[in-house]
């Protein structure tokens, strides 16, 4: 069902660099990372020239140079940290200028930083993209990288370049070169078709993984990026499955006569924590990805679900209604030392531990659903969104951006949104149909 997924992108040797340029450690974007930034940095991303315009399976290298610049620009704009110079004010860059920018001219168009590069068709049937970041005001080179990709993966080279710029200028981790798995929804609310779909973080390279014949819910990417787990109602038996992205094969996680759901991987991708409902009582279990006997981690009479590992694998955050309503709890990975961490008004659900470890994202219920974050000890709670129903937060690989889904009232479609941990930069993600349950992949290899 699936074509082979693994794609190889690697940094390549620098053959175009005339000389190594000392890279100053200065010039991170001004701004309080916790409080957000009020003045996005002005950045110019001109079309990338090519040493020779060559037709490739992905188009002519001259066209690719323009498209790659646009993908980089869109990534940077969508992060909220950057304010790209309008394309009609950008200057044409020659191959010679790639390593020797005309600082005065870029200063004139108001660019604080400059991202430029080149696109070259290699003799080995691959595409080489050079990516250079300059500080226009300081007239200095800040960073550079080169990527060699299959022609079909030209967008990945653009995302990698944008990641380099983002990481260098914000001090945050990269996240553009990653994928999103989600539930694609179509049809009326009482007869909806649901399919697992994957796409790049900017919505490109969209692909359906299931055909819509069975209800599918809650897909999650494995931290190693090789498999996803999700719940399917195939044969009218709602169960958790593992889906191998390279072979397209799916496998039942646990063979039990009960509903299994709410699955998530451990950080080393070796275990899956999931919920099983046995005669009206839902508890959390974990099982090796390779199969075996599930180990029960909770045993209260209430609904215990939504388990999510801390990035070091030592603890699990989950939700439980053992106190009456849904609240968040943290326990050790073996189920010991369970303690409640959420104490605000209303109820708390769908926790997901940040890959940085410092925050837990959740859905807070009460007069609507809102996305929020708190520290693992329950302190520092902040609500990030405000709508009728925002649900199911999922962290970007850099622990800085959160995806969630928003459902309007009535017979309407949910959609994916992203929001920064400051609560700013809320943005709708483009999907071909309705969308829910986003889960972010790790950065790609």
């Amino acid at each position: 069902m699936l074509s082979s997924m693994p794609i190889f992108v690697r940094r390549i040797a620098w053959f175009l660099m005339a000389a190594l340029i000392a890279i100053p450690a200065q010039a991170q974007i001004e701004g309080d990372v916790v409080g957000g930034i009020s003045n996005p940095s002005s950045i110019a991303v001109p079309d990338m020239p090519t040493p020779s315009a060559v037709d490739t399976p992905a188009g002519n290298t001259a066209d690719l140079g323009r498209q790659i610049a646009q993908v980089i620009e869109a990534d940077l704009r969508n992060s909220g940290f950057f304010n790209p110079v309008p394309r009609n004010r950008l200057r044409r860059v020659t191959m010679d200028q790639v390593t020797a920018p005309d600082y005065a001219a870029w200063n004139q168009v108001g660019a604080q930083h400059l991202v430029q590069g080149y696109v070259q068709a290699g003799s080995n049937g691959r595409l080489t993209v050079g990516c250079y970041l300059y500080d226009v005001f300081a007239q200095s080179s800040l960073d550079r990288a080169g990527y060699e990709v299959d022609y079909a993966d030209w967008r990945r080279a653009a995302h990698r370049c944008a990641d380099m710029v983002y990481a260098r200028l914000t001090g945050e981790g990269a996240y553009f070169d990653s994928r999103i798995v989600y539930v694609a929804e179509s049809g009326p609310k009482n007869n909806r078709t649901r399919r697992i779909a994957v796409m790049d973080t900017d919505g490109a390279n969209h692909r359906f993984l299931t055909n819509g014949q069975s209800i599918v819910l809650t897909p999650r990417y494995a931290p190693d990026g090789r498999t996803i787990t999700y719940m399917s109602y195939v044969n009218d038996e709602p169960r958790v499955y593992l889906f191998d992205l390279s072979t397209g094969r799916q496998r039942l996680l646990v063979d039990a006569p009960y509903m299994t759901f709410a699955a998530r991987y451990s950080p080393d991708s070796r275990y899956v924590v999931f919920s099983m409902a046995v005669n009206g009582n839902t508890d959390i279990y974990r099982v090796p990805v390779t199969g075996g006997r599930p180990e029960r981690l909770t045993n209260t009479p209430g609904i215990d679900t939504g388990g999510s590992y801390s990035p070091d694998g030592s603890r699990i955050v989950f939700e439980s209604d053992r106190s009456g309503g849904q609240q968040l709890y943290v326990m050790n990975a073996d189920g010991s030392n369970q303690r409640r961490i959420s104490f605000g008004g209303g109820q708390y659900a769908t926790p997901e531990w940040s890959p940085r470890g410092n925050l837990i994202a959740f859905t807070r219920l009460g007069g609507g659903f809102r996305i929020g974050v708190m520290r693992p000890d329950g302190s520092g709670e902040r609500i990030l969104t405000n709508s009728w129903q925002d649900e199911g937060p999922s962290w970007a690989p850099n622990g800085r951006v959160i995806h969630f889904f928003r459902t309007p009232r009535g017979d309407s479609m949910p959609a994916l949104y992203s929001v920064d941990i400051t609560g700013r930069q809320e943005r709708r993600l483009p999907t071909p149909v309705g969308a829910s349950d986003p889960s972010w992949s790790p950065l790609q290899d």
């Binding site: 709602p238 919920s275 609904i303 659900a349 009535g410």
Partner: protein, 171 residues
């Protein structure tokens, strides 16, 4: 069922109508009429639902659906009375296997509602089992909030969606 709203009544009548229309349109599915005997207590005639059918179950039990309060899986006296009637029919039709669906309104998160729907379906199943229906004949399945019958985002729609449905196979 706490208060039977007009919408709910319409809903129940609509499904009953749909089902009876269905059996009228499919006379070839009916067994041949008895020859030379009178089967007075079967209640079977060409205008009524086929014994053992879904339509028969709904007609005899009154409804296939019980309703719940918000975030609850408790059965109130009305639910129990309806389940008593369902149990009588199921005991009288021992060859029929049923699936009990648990459903929720949209005001809970997706995974929690899967668990809550499972609780509701089990509430109904356990009650029916206590009334003599063999548990091995009953399968539970939760659809959480994924299959509402009412599409609105208001109290009336939510009340209709918080339900457990005893599903007799068609045909």
């Amino acid at each position: 069922m706490k208060t039977l709203s007009p919408a709910m009544i319409m809903l129940v009548s609509a499904s009953a109508l749909a089902l009876s229309a269905c059996s009228r349109n499919a006379p070839e599915d009916l067994p041949p009429p008895p020859v030379g005997t009178t089967d007075a207590d079967s209640g079977f005639d060409n205008s009524g639902p086929m014994p053992g059918s879904r339509a028969d179950f709904i007609a005899q039990a009154g409804s296939d659906t019980i309703y719940f309060e918000t975030d609850s899986y408790d059965l109130d006296p009305e639910d129990r009375a309806l389940l008593d009637a369902q149990a009588r029919w199921l005991v009288a039709n021992p060859g029929v296997r049923v699936t009990i669906e648990g459903h929720c309104d949209e005001r809970g998160t997706r995974e929690y509602n899967l668990a809550l729907g499972e609780r509701r379906a089990n509430s109904a199943k356990n009650y029916l089992a206590a009334r003599g229906v063999d548990a091995g004949r009953m399968t539970v399945i939760s659809y959480g909030k994924e299959q509402p019958v009412a599409l609105g985002s208001n109290a009336q729609a939510w009340a209709q969606n918080r339900r457990a449905v005893t599903v007799v196979p068609v045909g």
